[in-house]
């Protein structure tokens, strides 16, 4: 473009080309500044990010460099960026001329001159005058907009540079060494107290030494082992504290009369002298039991930890208060409620069992006692539990047993059957019932409740009836009870017999209902007959009518003969698999053929109805009008009627018709 100016208008060369070059130079300068600031912004932000990353990665390559060198790098990069951007800027001459024309307002003379058009002298003069103020119309750099981000980036870099140095983190190995040194010191303190056996102290020292070696080897994951060892040492300290306290008390109580075998150096308190004897002295047992009764806070905590967690705090406190220093139990301190006492007894039993299963805990609780002494302590605990037992009720007075007792007996029967291996033969329903009866042994359960637990499934009912028959048979003195039928022993009580009779009767009633609703197959019916016959027989025998036993047995035998031998329903005897009707079977047979009751037929009409032929009178619907304006109309009005107005046009149309009305 400038070249054309040179060729076309030599007179205009200087002012026009000079103005264009100045305009272009200003644009290039602006581009350089933009690149400079942009590069500075990017590099400063990058440098700040690198410095932060170095702090995170604990390296100090950049941080070790002098501060001015970082700024020098940023400045050099910014200058380079500015130079590159300025050199790559390409703005067409026509664009430059057009912008200059817009700014100078030469009425197009500059445009014409730049295109090589020969201008008249007066126009040249006019254009020259306009070009004289080129400097005032050159573009200005928008410093305010350009410098905002670089300033922020510079501030960020300064702040990052001035951040205080990171605190020197101690190496992990050093921390481990400190921790093991502390552990070693703790073990030394424990050894100085001489309250812990030497072999245990030696073991602790070996554990600490092992930790030291592992820490020196750089092994990871030692902190958990260190914590565990520290806890163990703390426990040893607590145990030593407890031993110190109780031995002092024991020495005070028995110094006059006992412990002649103890050594003179005072080690008898912690059991060193007792290790030689096989049988612990009464004083030692009393001492151990005294631990239970006169425990200090820490030992009491240990004891209560052994008790079941579901035992209330009040119960635990009752145990502690009831135990006397001599190992006996103060009955006055025990709760009056039998259930609570039983719970206490169970809790102490459980604690004793737990201690018996865990020798470490036992040794921890009864430190200083020999194994025999510890065993006797456990026995004492058992006796302690026995003292907690509530007084048992009198059952030999011939009075009518209560419903819970009946249930308990039923549960006992189930237990005996389970011992004999016969419980698994019982059907599921009876097993569940037995289990529920056992669970509810301490609760009241009457016959109605027992009957309400009967299953609804017919097959279950039949199987249950068969099992009841077996159960009743066993109650007669045969297996599985194995006792003498005449001598009592496992002989069921009369209430139990009543309950069995009620159960048999309920079974028969329910099976009768079920049979009426869902008649089973012949085989099943025969099996059910067997079971019912047996159940009825037992019911008759146990119904308090000894004289009718023979008749009942005969009836039962007849039932057994008519239905064959007692067996599972639906079976054909040995060699045939049992066909059991389960819920799935009934579910699959839900669409089985079923005979519906016949509808009642009315009387046939007695009069003849004559047949007639009549002319049909169809009803013709009214024809809908299809004039203009109706949907489907063929006239032009139809199209108008169906015309859909866009929402933005509706207001205009509404306004139009509103004006028409006016």
């Amino acid at each position: 473009m400038v070249a054309s100016v040179v060729q076309g208008a030599p007179a205009m060369l200087a002012p026009v080309s000079d103005a264009i070059q100045r305009f272009r130079g200003r644009l290039r300068l602006a581009a350089f500044v933009r690149g400079l600031l942009l590069g500075f912004c990017v590099l400063a932000a990058t440098m700040a990010a690198l410095l932060l990353a170095e702090r995170l990665l604990a390296t100090s390559y950049l941080a070790s460099m002098p501060g001015w060198s970082l700024w020098a790098v940023v400045a050099a990069g910014a200058l380079l960026t500015g130079a590159v951007i300025a050199s790559r800027q390409s703005i067409d001459d026509a664009v430059v001329v057009a912008h200059l024309e817009k700014r100078l307002a030469t009425n197009g003379l500059l445009l014409a001159a730049s295109q090589g058009v020969e201008l008249d002298a007066s126009f040249v003069q006019r254009l020259g005058a306009q070009l004289g103020r080129t400097e005032s119309v050159l573009p200005t750099i928008r410093w305010q907009a350009l410098s905002l981000r670089p300033v922020v980036a510079a501030l960020v870099l300064v702040v990052v540079q001035w951040l205080p140095p990171t605190a020197a983190a101690k190496p992990a190995a050093e921390a481990l060494a400190i921790a093991t040194q502390r552990l070693d010191a703790e073990v030394a303190v424990l050894d100085d107290r001489q309250a812990v056996p030497d072999d245990r102290v030696a073991e602790l020292r070996r554990a600490v030494g092992d930790l030291n070696e592992r820490a020196a080897a750089g092994e990871e994951g030692l902190w958990r082992d260190i914590d565990q060892l520290r806890e163990r040492i703390e426990r040893e300290h607590q145990l030593a504290d407890a031993v110190d306290g109780t031995s002092a008390q024991a020495n005070g109580n028995n110094s006059k009369s006992q412990n002649g075998e103890g050594s003179a150096n005072g080690d008898s308190a912690n059991g060193d002298s007792a290790r030689g004897s096989e049988t612990p002295s009464t004083a030692e047992l009393a001492e151990a039991m005294a631990k239970l009764g006169a425990l200090d806070g820490a030992a009491l905590k240990q004891l209560t930890k052994q008790l079941p967690p579901d035992l209330s705090a009040a119960a635990k406190q009752a145990i502690v208060e009831a135990v006397q220093p001599d190992g006996s139990v103060d009955a006055a301190a025990l709760p009056e409620d039998n259930a609570a006492r039983q719970a206490l007894a169970d809790a102490v039993h459980a604690a004793a069992n737990q201690l018996a299963d865990d020798p470490a805990k036992l040794a921890e609780l009864a430190a200083g006692l020999t194994e025999q002494g510890q065993q006797q302590l456990l026995e004492k605990l058992g006796e302690l539990a026995a003292q907690f037992e509530p007084p048992s009720g009198d059952r030999g007075d011939g009075a009518q047993p209560s419903a819970p007792e009946l249930s308990a007996e039923l549960a006992k029967a189930a237990i005996e059957m389970a011992k004999a291996g016969a419980l698994e033969d019982l059907p599921k329903g009876l097993q569940e019932m037995m289990a529920k009866a056992g669970a509810a042994a301490l609760e009241s359960m009457d016959a109605e409740t027992l009957l309400s637990m009967l299953p609804d499934d017919l097959s279950e009912l039949m199987a249950m009836a068969e099992s009841v028959a077996k159960l009743a048979e066993g109650m007669q003195g045969e297996k599985p009870f194995g006792g003498d039928p005449a001598g009592g022993g496992n002989q069921p009580s009369k209430a139990m017999q009543d309950k069995m009779a009620a159960l048999a009767k309920g079974l028969m009633d329910k099976m009768g209902k079920e049979l009426g609703a869902n008649p089973p197959s012949d085989a099943a019916q025969s099996g059910a007959g067997d079971a019912l016959a047996q159940g009825g027989q037992q019911g008759g025998q146990q119904g308090g009518q000894p004289g009718d036993q023979q008749g009942g047995q005969q009836g039962g035998q007849q039932g057994a003969q008519s239905g064959g031998s007692p067996r599972a329903p639906g079976t054909e005897g040995g060699g045939h698999a049992a066909l059991r009707m389960t819920e799935d079977t009934y579910g699959g047979a839900s669409s089985a053929e079923m005979e519906l009751p016949q509808p009642e037929l009315g009387d046939l009409p007695t009069e003849w109805v004559p047949l007639t032929v009549e002319k049909a009178t169809p009803e013709v619907g009214k024809r809908q009008g299809n004039g203009a304006g109706r949907a489907g109309a063929s006239g032009s009005g139809g199209a108008t009627w169906q015309l859909r107005l866009m929402p933005r046009h509706r207001e205009v149309v509404r306004r139009f018709f509103a004006e028409k009305k006016k």
Binding site: A98, K102, G116, V117, E118, L119, D120, R648, V652
Partner: protein, 356 residues
């Protein structure tokens, strides 16, 4: 090397134009802009469509121009029953040399300046008879083409309020008019001047402003006005931006706002929503020619951006076909062009953002 008009040439052109303008201003009081636009259209050798209410002096202005420019003038009153042959002429049976033959008898269209009064009252058939005349400057009857006298101008008028019984001009017909100028109403002072200076509305007697050959000289001067490339680029981008398809995709429209007009409810409509069809290349040519005449009228040897802005609205507005929704919403083509003039930058590439 291209040579621009000299100062003397520009002054000569200004002199001729001033004579015509002053004469027209004597006839039509208070309508300086209208007179200048008509003069620009004549200098650009384009046809002119005047739209305005009755009684504003449209017909009188055309007659005045005919008188001032010393051109042969014919007036055609368009009516619904006017036939094409009534304006183009037709063959008549004549006896020549003892033989009877059909001889073409030129119609009223064969004149330098034709006033098509109330052009929208004639049928489309008759309106279409003007198509060839306006574009080709010729008339074809019975397969024989007859050239119209040069220069040939059609100055048409139409009444925008009596639309019943009228036939809106087809787009092809509208496109052939260089300008469509809306004749504005008069203010009270102007009407007072008319009342005091005119009796019975009779215009003053004027003499012709241009002698024989001076009109052609004026045309030559207009042709010599220089149109810089930057201005031509601006005109092209302006016309291209009127097309809805290009307004959103073309490079020239990348700087324009899509909100080019405001409808009656105040909602902004873009070119895509407001315009159905944009202006044709004939519009760009018309703007360029008219801008030349406008530059000479302003005593400039070359076209400037402001000359384009002055003639863009009368040259573009009647060439845009708006969407029905835009029309119903109150958007006018004039508003669209005004918005485009604001949105289209004079320089197609803006300065970098780091400078202002």
């Amino acid at each position: 090397m291209t040579t621009m008009l000299t100062t003397e040439q520009v002054a000569r052109g200004q002199q001729l134009l001033s004579a015509v303008r002053d004469g027209a201003n004597q006839v039509l009081l208070g309508q300086n802009d209208l007179v200048e636009l008509c003069l620009i259209a004549l200098c650009a050798r384009g046809h002119l469509l005047l739209e305005g209410q009755p009684g504003l002096g449209k017909t009188e202005l055309v007659k005045a121009f005919a008188k001032l420019t010393n051109l042969e003038f014919r007036r055609l009153q368009f009516t619904p029953d006017l036939l094409p042959s009534d304006i183009t002429g037709g063959p008549i049976l004549q006896e020549r040399d003892g033989e009877r033959q059909l001889v073409f008898r030129p119609g009223p269209l064969f004149a330098n300046l034709v006033l098509a009064d109330e052009i929208n009252r004639s049928s489309p058939k008759t309106q279409s008879a003007l198509l060839e005349a306006m574009q080709e400057r010729s008339v074809t009857v019975l397969g024989e083409t007859h050239s119209l006298p040069k220069p040939f101008f059609v100055l048409a008028t139409q009444n925008p309020i009596e639309l019943e019984g009228t036939y809106p001009l087809p787009e092809a017909q509208l496109d052939r008019f260089l300008f469509k100028v809306e004749v504005p109403g008069l203010d009270a002072d102007t009407m007072a001047r008319i009342l005091t200076s005119r009796r019975r509305g009779e215009p003053p007697t004027i003499e012709k402003a241009l002698q024989e050959g001076e009109l052609q000289e004026l045309f030559d001067l207009v042709d010599a006005v220089f149109l810089p490339d930057a201005i031509a680029n601006y005109i092209a981008r302006l016309v291209a931006a009127t097309h809805p398809a290009r307004s959103s995709s073309s490079k020239t429209s990348s700087h324009i706002s899509r909100d080019t007009s405001t409808n009656a409810s105040g909602a902004q409509l873009g070119v895509d929503q407001a315009v159905r069809y944009g202006a044709s290349p004939r519009a760009a040519i018309a703007i360029g020619e008219a801008a030349r005449a406008a530059a000479l009228l302003q005593s400039r040897p070359n076209v400037d951006f402001q000359d384009v802005a002055r003639v863009a609205i009368p040259a573009l507005a009647h060439r845009l076909v708006l969407q029905h929704s835009a029309v119903v919403g109150g958007t006018t083509a004039r508003a669209v062009v005004e918005q485009l003039l604001q949105d289209i930058p004079a320089v197609h590439k803006p300065l970098p953002e780091e400078v202002r």
